[in-house]
């Protein structure tokens, strides 16, 4: 399956990458996905999003628009093609 990843806010501006795709033949958790993304980008993006194993206040991780916080958090399993949106702690209006 293909997972479409979109990066936003300071992460996107720092890396100069708006999106990428990860192909995998078995289900992955969000945490594993973030590791795969870091490998592919050759930059560890995890410290921008996660602190002491917890999702940082303000970090938003969405699978098809649904926040993983209300599923199994970082253990949320991806089993089919989807879009994952990644926002580092950003802001409000």
């Amino acid at each position: 399956m293909i997972i479409h990843i979109k990066l936003f806010a300071t992460l996107r501006l720092k890396l100069g990458v708006a999106g990428l795709e990860i192909e995998t033949d078995k289900p992955v958790t969000i945490m594993q996905l973030l590791e795969l993304v870091s490998q592919k980008l050759d930059t560890d993006i995890i410290p921008e999003l996660i602190e002491n194993g917890e999702i940082m206040v303000g970090t938003i991780l969405l699978i098809n628009g649904k926040n993983i916080f209300h599923a199994d958090k970082l253990e949320t399993l991806i089993t089919e093609e989807c879009e994952v949106s990644v926002f580092p702690p950003s802001g409000g209006g």
């Binding site: 649904k66 949106s85 950003s90 802001g91």
Partner: protein, 599 residues
């Protein structure tokens, strides 16, 4: 205490200007800014009056921490009866004007009555004078500011003024200070216009006295550190400003599009906060007085025009809501609103309403008098109809009255996305249940800054709540409403609350005022302010029927995206909210509640 203890009363008809004392007890009970201003206003003004009558008053109130070194301590509040909603209006603004206003030696200005001819008020260190403003009438807010600064010749002076929007009594006009900062909502600019008061220019050197200076300075340092280390206030807001929200809200499926007919916008990549940076429009970020966050944007468009913004809300109103993906046109419309002195949120929503009325055939092509078609997606419409609205030309005459009255004039008020006739901002309540309750119960109508539930429900600060859950939401709404009343009365910016909590505000207030509030007492002051505003609205004729949302949001499910199938569940939330507030089933504060709050 951190007040000068002085109020200035200005009668615009008789030109009498009179200083009065501010009682310390009143300041303690109502904190300052929004609380104190509303107390003075509701004691002096009959809630039933017409907003444009001479009996309406216009109050400028600084907060307990305004003009101190507290982070973001530069704000002031405008309090009056709103001509748009008929509710109490309190409209808040940053920049440097609030700081300078307090430096004159006055904490509060009360304008009464109406001038016969255009005038402006000049205050220099307690000396106040009403001057003729014939030469300024008709000028935009930037020209007015430049002319006044030239006339006064004091470089540190600051100006708040209205533009043609307020002069022409557009019900969606605001008051602008420091050129691009706005007390924007509720039509406060039109009240100023009805009084023929074009501007206020202030200068002065009065320092705000601090009760325990050493302890206060230490507390300020601590709070700045918290703000700097927080991901939202330390990095996100400084880098991308409020427009960082475009993608967050759109991806989450609650980004109102096509006048709330949809909740996601295909054109997002062209207009988002990221696009503003990537297209090279962003020059730098700008800060208000004493602000370590600096969320403001200085923008230069490809044709060379420089201005501030657009912020998230105006960018959305002119963008997704009208289905326009032209960031240049959106930015120009925002600049125009600042210059002409109208509220870009309300203007954008009103244009989107007109577009739906046109789409459905209620507004006929002939009515546009050869102007651009009011079609969703037509970027030419933005500047053209913003101008028409300000100058009340053609269909602009109806649009100047805001979305509700426009839709009502065609017999279709249900197409207006408003609460209490004020235009709803950029979060679809069907995707965020707590924010929807906050809109429905806001004391000034459709507004997100009376309780910003997006922080917990979407951003996850201070903790993450499920936006579709309704359990516990009335409690959260009440706490946010009361805490926001405290922050607004302190003279600080609401954005600090992404990182600071109630004990931080009590700490700053206590060290500056010496009032020694416990956190509970401070929160109770917030609750008192909320109930006082509610009482004003009830006396002016509002009932529980007005605590509602547009039918579309209660009955038509979101058609697609992450929130597909959801409506707003107000009917399940409102009774619990009233109960929690200590109000009757009809939303009226009980005698016990009023006694408890000392009202």
């Amino acid at each position: 205490m951190s007040y000068h203890g002085k109020i200035l009363r200005i009668n615009l008809a008789t030109k009498e200007i009179k200083p009065e004392n501010l009682s310390k007890d009143l300041a303690k009970k109502y904190i300052g800014g929004r609380g104190l201003g509303t107390k003075i206003f509701s004691d002096e003004v009959d809630p039933k009056i017409d907003a444009f009558s001479p009996e309406n008053k216009l109050i400028f109130a600084t907060g307990a921490l305004t003009s101190t070194i507290a982070p973001t301590g530069g704000r002031y509040m405008v309090i009056t009866k709103s001509p748009l909603t008929g509710t109490i209006a309190s409209s808040n603004s940053g920049g440097f004007f609030g700081h300078k206003l307090k430096s004159t030696g006055y904490d509060v200005l009360i304008f009464e009555n109406k001038a016969e001819k255009p005038c402006y008020l000049y205050i220099d260190d307690e000396k106040a004078e009403l001057r003729d403003a014939a030469h300024l009438w008709g000028k935009d807010t930037h020209e007015t500011t430049d002319i006044l600064m030239g006339e006064i010749g004091e470089k540190t002076a600051k100006v708040a003024c209205i533009g043609p929007g307020g002069e022409n009594l557009s019900l969606i006009s605001g008051i602008m200070n420091d050129k691009n900062r706005a007390a924007g909502r509720s039509g406060v600019g039109a009240v100023m216009g009805s009084k023929m008061l074009k501007a206020i220019i202030v200068s002065g050197k009065h320092k705000t006295l601090i009760d325990d200076k050493e302890a206060f300075n230490k507390a300020v340092k601590e709070k700045i550190k918290i703000l700097k280390e927080n991901g939202v206030t330390g990095e996100g807001l400084p880098t991308l400003g409020t427009k960082v929200l475009d993608n967050i809200i759109n991806s989450s499926g609650l980004y109102p599009t096509r006048n709330f007919q949809k909740a996601q916008f295909e054109g997002i990549d062209e207009i988002s906060g990221e696009a503003l940076v990537e297209k090279g429009y962003l020059v730098k970020n700008v800060a208000c007085y004493a602000c370590p966050i600096a969320c403001g944007r200085l923008v230069e468009l490809p044709q060379g025009k420089i201005g501030e913004g657009p912020e998230y809300e105006p960018g959305w109103a002119f963008g997704a809501l009208c289905e326009i993906n032209d960031l240049n046109a959106i930015s120009q419309a925002n600049f125009m609103c600042n210059e002409l002195g109208v509220d870009p949120i309300s203007v954008g929503v009103t244009i989107a309403t007109a577009m739906e009325l046109y789409e459905k055939g209620y507004i006929k092509k002939e009515e546009l008098e050869k102007g651009p078609e009011l079609k969703f997606g037509n970027s030419e419409a933005l500047l053209y109809y913003t101008k028409k609205l300000v100058y009340k030309e053609g269909i602009g005459e109806k649009m100047a009255l805001g979305s509700y009255r426009l839709a009502e004039s065609y017999g279709h008020p249900e197409l207006s996305m408003t609460v209490k006739k004020m235009e709803i901002p950029a979060y679809d309540p069907r995707g965020v249940q707590g924010q929807g309750l906050a809109y429905a119960t806001s004391n000034r109508g459709g507004c997100h800054v009376r309780a910003y539930l997006i922080a917990p429900e979407i951003v996850g600060a201070p903790e993450k709540l499920d936006p579709q859950e309704i359990k516990g939401k009335p409690e959260w709404v009440k706490i946010f409403q009361d805490l926001t009343a405290v922050i607004d009365s302190s003279g600080l910016c609401l954005f600090t609350s992404f990182a600071l909590g109630a004990p931080d505000y009590a700490d700053l207030l206590n060290k500056a005022t010496g009032f020694n509030y416990s956190v509970d007492e401070m929160m109770q002051a917030g609750e008192r302010i909320w109930n006082m505003e509610r009482l004003f609205n009830l006396k002016s004729g509002f009932t529980t029927k007005d605590d509602t949302l547009p039918k579309r949001l209660l009955e038509e499910p979101i058609p697609a995206g992450p929130n597909k199938g959801h409506v707003h569940r107000l009917g399940e939330l409102l009774p619990d909210y009233y109960k929690l507030r200590g109000w009757t089933e009809d939303g009226i504060p009980t005698d016990e509640k009023l006694k408890e709050l000392g009202l």
